[in-house]
């Protein structure tokens, strides 16, 4: 049994939320640079330049990349042989509290659907716990903006809808969203499970490394095809038209009921801020 003190979790969350809000991952920047080489529209190209320049200014000047520093999402994978000496939820929320204050990040959480009073410290984080083999604690941490989250959807398709039905739903969702989710986007898709699980695995798919592909050949092919078809929609960066609408498509899946084909589509803006920490 390995013991982990909650203060270590708090520290890791605090440092991570500050870091991801100031610095885009190199793999993301190189995808944007690659897209720019193929982009034929001048306005689109100049927006891609802005995004790259923005990441440089943010990193050098220690300014957040985007004013919407998001809601914190944490997937915590706890090893069976780990014992946390305290409350993991409190430890994570304390890290959010400290990180958003010390990092000068915007507090965007409100308490109630209608009262809408700001909680003033960006808590609570959206926390998903799972148990895995081993004696490590893995924290996958994201700051997720509201603009792209608002363009996400869950739909229960019939099994007969099949691959074509899934594709149509994804393409319609991305097209309808237009410039609102700050394209170029990353599209995270959850297939199967049930109503709520599909949404959770869609979000989790967005935390996969940008360059990877699904292990399943059918799903991997769907990721590739959707990537091409989404970029043919012509939405373009910020919706102004162009060849660059998405940077990647990620699909996670689970077994499901004989009667259902749940599809969740979680849209991530180009400011894809996430990190993985192993404690």
């Amino acid at each position: 049994m390995r013991f982990i003190d909650p203060s270590i979790i708090t520290e890791a969350i605090k440092d991570s939320v500050i870091k991801i809000n100031y610095e885009l991952d190199d793999s993301l920047i190189s995808l944007i640079q690659k897209a720019k080489k193929k982009e034929r529209s001048n306005i689109a190209s100049s927006i891609l330049d802005d995004i790259i320049e923005n990441s440089e200014i943010a990193k050098e000047g220690n300014v957040p990349l985007c004013q919407d520093t998001g809601v914190v999402v944490v997937f915590a994978e706890v090893g069976f042989d780990v014992h946390i000496d305290g409350n993991i939820y409190d430890a994570i929320n304390e890290g959010v509290r400290q990180g958003y204050s010390e990092g000068y990040l915007r507090k965007s959480m409100v308490n109630h659907p209608f009262e809408r009073v700001n909680t003033k410290d960006n808590t609570p984080a959206m926390i998903h716990l799972s148990y895995v083999k081993g004696d490590k604690l893995t924290l996958k941490i994201a700051s997720k903006g509201g603009g792209s989250e608002n363009m996400s959807t869950v739909k229960m398709l019939t099994p007969a809808a099949g691959i074509d039905g899934v594709k149509k739903l994804v393409l319609d969702t991305v097209f309808q969203a237009g410039g609102k989710p700050c394209p170029p986007i990353i599209v995270g898709i959850g297939l199967g499970g049930n109503f709520e699980k599909s949404a959770i695995i869609a979000k989790e798919s967005l935390l996969r490394p940008l360059g990877d592909k699904s292990d399943d050949p059918i799903i991997a092919r769907l990721e590739d095809e959707l990537y091409d078809e989404i970029n043919k929609l012509g939405v373009g960066p910020m919706g102004v038209g162009g060849d660059t609408t998405c940077l990647a498509v990620k699909i996670n899946y689970l077994p499901m009921h004989i009667a259902s084909l749940p599809v969740a589509i979680n849209i991530q803006c180009h400011s894809a801020r996430h990190i993985e920490v192993i404690l």
């Binding site: 995004i51 923005n54 943010a58 919407d68 990040l105 915007r106 700001n118 373009g236 919706g239």
Partner: protein, 172 residues
């Protein structure tokens, strides 16, 4: 590339075409969802609306030594209906991101105003073009309060112009 300085005249508006890159210098005011709700209930607006520019933004907290925190645009469609009475009072330019309703676009043309977009998610870059910020109303709204900003070469694109062009649709 077109340079604009505030306040904005009808002549300025007529010159803008969808797809134009615009650099703004002068005064702009911030307002998003909650500030709009309050503005609609005011008899006397907290800033001169005639010829004015409103930027849909809720910045991050300002650090010591900076004029403002990260300041990129928020989605404009949420302000579509609330923008109409402001345009009727003389609001000339709105800056945000994403497309808006057709009803909004028609009201906008009727009132001889334009809609510009700034690069969403480029909060650090855009904040570097803001030279000063001053709180002028609704302090209790925090990031959603109204600030008066002095900007220099603040970069935008014309999305909807008064001649009926729509950057988001014309691309297709």
């Amino acid at each position: 590339m077109i340079r604009l300085s505030s306040p904005i005249s009808n002549h300025d508006i007529n010159n803008l075409k969808s797809g134009d890159k615009v650099l703004i210098t002068g005064t702009i005011y911030t307002a998003r969802d909650q500030a709009h709700i309050r503005l609609l209930n005011e008899k006397n607006l907290p800033f001169p609306i005639e010829g004015s520019i409103i930027y849909y933004v809720g910045p991050t907290p300002k650090k010591e030594g900076f004029a403002i925190g990260a300041s990129g645009p928020t989605s404009s469609y949420r302000m579509d209906e609330m923008a109409v009475p402001l345009m009727e009072k003389g609001l000339k330019i709105m800056i945000g991101k994403g497309d808006r309703s057709e009803e909004f676009r028609h009201e906008m043309m009727k009132n001889n105003a334009v809609y510009l977009i700034a690069t969403g998610g480029a909060g650090a870059l855009l904040s570097s073009r803001i030279k000063s910020s001053k709180l002028i109303a609704y302090e209790d709204l925090g990031a959603e309060a109204i600030y008066q900003l002095e900007v220099e070469d603040f970069p935008c694109f014309v999305a909807y112009d008064v001649h009926g062009h729509n950057l988001f649709k014309d691309r297709l």
